[in-house]
Amino acid sequence: MFGHVSPLKVYIGIFAALMVLTVVTILVAYVDLGEMNKVVAMGIASFKATLVVLYFMHVKYSSRLTKLIVVSGFFFLAILLTLTMADYGSRQWVNPPAILQ
């Protein structure tokens, strides 16, 4: 009656994509990319999470208000991570490691 009913194909396709990405993220863990190891692993995880949010959680077919709420939440998560990192990153400069030890 209301609410978008996705075809079966979409769910099977998204599941297959998530499985492929799981295999990719495991294989890539055995390749040494230096500092990029974390970035690649988190990038793949974020792509998988986006697929789940859009298709399994139906946000792709939700109202603009719901979309706005979802995006705002991840925006606040980004603030949490970025500002905390910036704080700790700059504290070490104020207190050199030699003084701490």
Binding site: V5, Y11, V53, F56, I69, L81, Y88
Partner: protein, 250 residues
């Protein structure tokens, strides 16, 4: 009197869906409010787990060697198996919602039961993993022992006393810092498992309601809300798996 009653029905108040609560105009509006409220709750959960992810990232940057050593000591195959199981349970949950949307009562019940079975398999694997940690003294606390594979060899060829002191200091650091890793490991996977147990509990109720025929294509909001919660738990694991098991395996 008679005309009055007909007039009343004519205004659309007579044919209300029994699940429509009086503060909502339509079923669509009621569902929209539920979706919005559920997402508001899930976003508090995002920030709740986000704080733990933040702590993990920071300690990983501070003690990279200890975190790589501890993370590599975890058996990858159980984590990989659980990833497949949990993403599979997200698929069956999505199919349960779809079955409810399309008036398939039996299919809704069956997909929900399968989702609970897969969730229980996940928790069972977690029990095997936790038991393994207890066996290897990898549970933080007084009995925590970090034995690095190459430790004995490094101690044997240590020539001077100062070399020995340095390696003893390094061993003590490794003992402390791997313990931080396992503290975060148990906190994050433990809270994730708790969310799954709650999810299975909610699903038991929803499955019973679905079996009793409470849902239809016009009203399946509780099934969809349970789905949103379950998919969120899946997303947390999608991040936990690479963070705890995968990064820097090479």
């Amino acid at each position: 009197m008679h005309a009055d009653a007909h007039g009343h029905a004519g205004h659309g108040h007579g044919a209300q869906h029994p699940a429509l609560q009086h503060q909502f105009e339509t079923m669509g509006q009621q569902k929209e409010a539920a979706v919005l409220g559920m997402w508001a709750f899930l976003l508090t959960e995002v920030l709740f787990f986000g704080g733990l992810f933040m702590a993990y990232m920071l300690y990983r940057i501070w003690y990279p060697d200890a975190f790589v050593a501890a993370s590599t000591s975890i058996d990858l195959k159980w984590g990989a198996l659980n990833t497949v199981v949990l993403i599979g349970s997200s698929l069956t949950m999505a199919l349960a919602v779809r079955a409810a949307q399309t008036n398939q009562r039996k299919a809704t019940v069956n997909w929900l039961i399968l989702t609970m079975v897969l969730g229980t398999v996940f928790l069972g694997v977690k029990v095997i993993e936790y038991a393994d940690k207890f066996e290897h003294h990898h549970v933080p606390g007084p009995n925590f022992v970090w034995a690095e594979p190459g430790h004995e060899a490094a101690g044997a060829d240590a020539g001077t006393a100062s070399d020995h002191a340095v390696s003893a200091q390094e061993a003590a650091n490794l003992q402390n810092h791997t313990q931080i890793f396992f503290s975060l490991y148990f906190t994050m996977t433990g809270l994730h498992a708790l969310h799954m147990i709650i999810g299975i509990g909610i699903m038991l109720v929803i499955t019973w309601q679905a079996y009793s025929g409470r849902f239809s294509s016009e009203y399946y909001t509780p099934v969809e809300m349970t789905g949103l919660y379950w998919h969120f738990v899946d997303i947390v694991w999608i991040y936990l798996f690479p963070l705890l098991y995968l990064i820097d395996r090479s």
